[in-house]
């Protein structure tokens, strides 16, 4: 039996294909390898989480070239005396993409604001201590990792007094970590080429500071006589007044802070504060210039760091400028999209002026400039009128595109069958294909025989239409049916009723009944019914306009918080 070699290779390597099942295999492999190499469990969990996101990115967005060759995953575990680090490198042949260049978007504060997707990069950024990207040899190489500290060794290399600031610390146990017993600093990029013993001597007088989450390290405008190096935790530098993501720079362990003001003696240019509990090595300006700079490689590494930082800030500035241009362009495109969208809906009033047996009129007031409500009405043969009304989840361009898809599909489907439940069933299955944005639509639709008044209808989660006449109003009984586009394979059913001559079939979206007055009271169905029955005698365009005026009066504003859409159909006595 061969015993396990005492010196393990530096790397563990795995190659996988670009698909979901293989991602899981890679995760299990990393778990096992981390366990073998004694990486703490919590840290291994973080790495696996990041790995999942990185690989999912490659599989989903890497394009066909990502699937052409296997993805390589490399695990590297390093150890110093009292700390360890583990990093993973993912190399793939997909479309060149630098995830570290992605903009930091502010986190949504409410569920309404939140979009379902797009949290992968956030996980990678927050669950790893560093992320680096390079594109080499036609491949993406993304390296990310984390480090941990081992309980201090028994030997005391730095018999210095504990940090002076520890008195401010909330927990006395953290005091121990404020000393630097046995701490090696060779892992810091700046010092990686220096002789360990010389480094130890040069750092002998330097202190390690502890700051609690939220505490400031440097304030803009202050004079500064020190260079700081972040040892663990996370700091952010905030350049402007606002906490906007564009002006905030995250500082990772091993990075320098304050070196610019230490070079030119000018005051600090940014507010730097701790976002987690942090440990920071403080180097006095004199020590920094007179001792550390003389060590092998330190000056060169310092220059490299500064150059890199300059390059990064240039890139940020360029990216920002590009984004602004794109934003202006997008705004124009959105305006075109809005016009196109409006032109898809039958907004002529009344809708079929040539017909004496039916009166049809629609109304729509979008909330945002590009809305998600829809309605349609058209004859599939000389006596059968198809009507529908719907409300797409969400707003903005994604909802608008989805709505256009719904309208297009409905028009095609209504030509094939006069069974409204069949239409919803097929529409639902079609919409579920490639619905990456997880959008859905509530939809009511039906076929009205304008000669005998027979109305067959089906519903997918839309609010109840009403039938009104001078004798009062009634809600249409609704067949059960789930909203459309959320889950494939759903079945819908249909019901039938008769629309008498003179009766108005009134369909609407919830933007109408849920319109709120300043005190939060909704207009409600009752409020609408009352108005509709009262205005029964007037022509439909005038009736819908007056109902909308009622909404404006109720909310006290012409700007709707949700799309407000109505569709009314009334049978007439021909020739009357």
């Amino acid at each position: 039996m061969v015993s396990e070699p005492s010196v393990r290779p530096r790397f563990d390597e795995l190659t996988i294909d670009a698909n979901g099942a293989e991602i899981r295999r890679a995760s299990e492999w990393v778990c096992a390898a981390c366990h073998r190499r004694e990486v703490p469990l919590a840290l291994a969990d973080r790495l696996v989480l990041c790995l999942n996101e990185v690989l999912a990115n490659v599989v989903t967005h890497g394009g066909p070239t990502a699937r052409a060759a296997p993805i390589r995953v490399l695990l590297e575990v390093g150890r110093e005396e009292d700390c360890g680090n583990a990093s993973l490198t993912v190399s793939d042949t997909g479309r060149a993409f630098d995830p570290t260049s992605a903009a930091h978007e502010p986190l949504p504060r409410t569920l309404d604001e939140a979009s379902p997707g797009g949290r992968g990069m956030l996980i990678i950024r927050r669950c790893s201590d560093w992320v680096r990207y390079r594109n080499e040899g036609g491949q993406n190489h993304l390296t990310f990792g984390a480090r941990w500290t081992v309980q201090p060794a028994a030997t005391t290399q730095f018999p210095r007094s504990p940090d002076r600031r520890v008195a401010n610390l909330p927990h006395p146990h953290e005091q121990r970590q404020g000393t630097r017993r046995g701490e090696a600093f060779q892992w810091i990029t700046l010092f990686r080429d220096a002789d360990p013993r010389e480094l130890e001597e040069a750092l002998a007088d330097c202190e390690v500071m502890l700051l609690g989450a939220g505490a400031p390290l440097l304030r803009a405008g202050e004079a500064n006589r020190s260079v700081f190096i972040l040892l663990s935790g996370r700091l952010v530098a905030q350049l402007g007044e606002d906490t906007n993501a564009d002006t905030v720079i995250v500082i990772a362990p091993g990075e320098c802070i304050g070196e610019l003001s230490a070079i030119d003696g000018k005051p600090i240019s940014a507010l730097v504060h701790a976002v987690t509990d942090v440990r920071v090595l403080r180097l006095d300006r004199e020590v920094f210039w007179n001792r550390l700079m003389l060590l092998r490689g330190v000056a060169a590494n310092m220059m490299a760091t500064l150059t890199e930082r300059m390059r990064r800030s240039n890139q940020t500035a360029l990216a920002l400028q590009r984004e602004r241009l794109e934003f202006h362009h997008l705004k124009k495109e959105l305006e075109v999209a809005r016009q196109l969208q409006a032109s898809m809906l039958p907004l002529q009033r009344p809708l079929f002026p040539g017909r004496s047996d039916i009166e049809v009129c629609g109304f729509m007031e979008p909330a945002s400039r590009v809305g998600g409500d829809l309605f349609d009405a058209f004859f599939v043969d000389s006596r059968t009128l198809f009507v529908c009304i719907g409300d797409v989840s969400g707003h903005g361009i994604a909802a608008a595109l989805f709505m256009v898809r719904v309208i297009g599909l409905l028009r095609a489907l209504a030509m094939d069958t006069t069974q409204p439940d069949e239409i919803l069933q097929t529409l639902n299955d079609r919409l579920c294909i490639g619905n990456d944005a997880n959008l859905f639509v509530t939809l009511f639709c039906g076929f009205l025989d304008v000669q005998d008044g027979r109305f067959v209808y089906s519903n997918g989660g839309h609010c109840v239409p009403m039938v009104c006449s001078d004798r009062g109003a009634r809600r249409l009984p609704l067949p059960k049916g789930m909203l459309v586009g959320a889950a494939s394979g759903r079945r819908y059913s249909s019901l039938e009723c008769e629309l008498a001559v003179g009766e108005i079939l009134f369909c609407y979206s919830d933007g109408l009944t849920e319109a709120q007055d300043p005190a939060g009271m909704q207009l409600s169905e009752e409020g609408c019914i009352e108005w509709l029955c009262r205005g029964d005698a007037s022509e439909l365009p005038a009736l819908l306009d007056s109902l909308f005026e009622r909404v404006v009066q109720h909310t006290g504003s012409k700007l709707m918080s949700d799309d407000c859409t109505m569709l009314a159909v009334r049978r007439l006595v021909p020739g009357s």
Partner: protein, 114 residues
């Protein structure tokens, strides 16, 4: 990977998801989750205390469901073990600010129908 549910009275639905919500796991339960959360219940508790792993694709499915529930006037809450890898995913993505999270199923049930 499993997803199951039971209804407590008329107002509350408890959904339990076990296994891993990574790419294959989420794909296998996403439509069932959407269906289960689309039922007209006032409160929905999604119990993740036996879930071993939660990736952003799983988070996306949870947010979609929470939005559906909220849009029809209901409330969706989560049950998560503090300190677990699932709690870490939710914390890192700020989801704990969007969907209420509880340690116990009992607390969660109470909050969902409150």
């Amino acid at each position: 990977m499993s997803i199951s549910y039971d209804d407590v009275g008329n107002d509350l639905r408890r959904i339990v998801i076990t296994g891993q919500l990574d790419m294959p796991g989420t794909e296998s339960i996403a439509s069932t989750l959407a269906e289960l959360t689309a039922a007209p219940k006032k409160g929905v508790v999604v119990d993740l205390s036996a879930l071993r792993f939660l990736a952003s694709i799983g988070i996306s499915a949870l947010i979609t469901s929470a939005k559906v529930v909220q849009q029809r006037g209901g409330k969706m809450v989560l049950v998560v073990n503090p300190g677990s890898s699932v709690a870490m995913s939710l914390d890192a993505t700020g989801v704990d600010q969007l969907i209420p999270i509880f340690k116990s199923s009992a607390e969660a049930g109470k909050a969902a129908v409150a």
